[in-house]
Amino acid sequence: MSMHLREVSSAAVIVRQLRRAYGSRVVIDGLNLRIERGEFVALLGESGCGKTTLLRALSGLDSVDGGTIDGPRLPAVVFQEPRLLPWESLARNVALGLPDSVENRVRALGALAEVGLGERAEDWPRNLSGGQAQRVALARALVQEPRLLLLDEPFAALDALTRIKMQRLVKQLVERHRPGVLLVTHDVDEAIALADRALVMRDGAIAGEYVVAQHAVTALRETLLAELGVDSHA
């Protein structure tokens, strides 16, 4: 974690031989990962495969036991829950990671407008629906102009229609801001719809890698489901 990108590089993050153990239980072992700037990577895997641990290591919340992570010290993170501060206006919430200034307030208002909530800048978080709150969380992440954006199942708690709208919004915003994106998800269709590359994680390492554009959607869907232990002929 001590190494950060200093040289000009096209990579948003480079992970080499990452290892993380809790006591004798090895959760991540020899994991390698490279995400380019502007690249959208989906990370699939069954529960307990180490996805969350990887995400926590990348976001700087947990330390690692071995290997290196070359990437920004503070990537932007969107969690499964919006995690808005209920006592601050939407504009203040979006500007949370920025120093207080008029310029940053204008940036926050711009980011709110980008997610379609420009009119609600002075509203309280409690007046928002789940989807709207998650859009604010997205604005808070993107206003930092992150080199790396980590999405931890950000659509899981949303209803089906809101989820589709959010997915489209995320795709559109990522194309405009071009951070490297790592999306952790359980949803194969979501991975195919959004990602340039889908990774399957198993036993603490990357077990499969699929460039989405090189596969037919239906076949890729079956393959990924099979990788995740869902037998289509059952």
Binding site: G60, R83, W87, E88, G97
Partner: protein, 294 residues
Amino acid sequence: MPSASAHRPQTHEPIVPSPRAVSTPAPVQRERAAARFSDHTLRLISLVMPLVVLVVWESFARLGLLSPQVLPAPTRVAQTAVSLIAQGRLLNDMGVSLLRAMTGFVIGGTLGVALGTAVGFSRVAEAFFDRNIQMLRAIPFLALLPLVIVWFGVGEAGKIFLVALGVLFPIYVNTVLGIRQVDPKLLELGRVMGLSKRTLIRRIVIPGALPSILTGVRYALASAWLALVVAETIATSTGIGFLAMDAREFLRTDVIVMTIVIYAGIGVLADAFARGLERRLLRWHPNYAQGGKR
């Protein structure tokens, strides 16, 4: 129960059961209307009753059934207040009492929030301070009164000290509790966003603990008031409590009753102030919200 069974035959049962008849809202509405009417009446009664007590008290006093030594008439108490204000004594003594209460409150409150924040936030601070504070908290602070008089005499410092002590503990306890209850997911967010410790405390920890801290403030106000009354009554030469003690010497029951009313009045105002503070500072909170937007 007998009245309920007596009512039952009166309720209208449709003879021919039809969906319409079953869903007829008429009986329900009549019951609701009755309930609303009686609610109004009850409210009216609750507002009128204190006046009735005052009137009865006044008439008993006027009829000579109540000795002025025991309980002077309300109008007499009011007259006393007016004449004491005219003499320039009452407002002066009230000012002195309020200043004591506020000074003690600010000192005790600041200490309580500072210590509470430190202990709630840092395990090191907890190890250093918490057990001692809990031990001091076990003392009913009014039991310290003789000691306070020995230390400070009858001057201002002793009273302010006692008020501060009464304020410190409720605010300390509720601040620690509030900080412990701050959503760990928001603290994690703060770390992911790279907030400095200072910013984390200012924007996440303190606001998150605020509902609990303000509960502490309301307890503290009651506690401060009690401390003030006791301190002023026993060792003093100015203030409302002194007024009451001085009046006791001359059997001026009217003045004593007036001071009691003043204490009660200021207590009510202090509580209203604390509730106003909650409504203002917690307007983001669903439980305190009035209307949707700010």
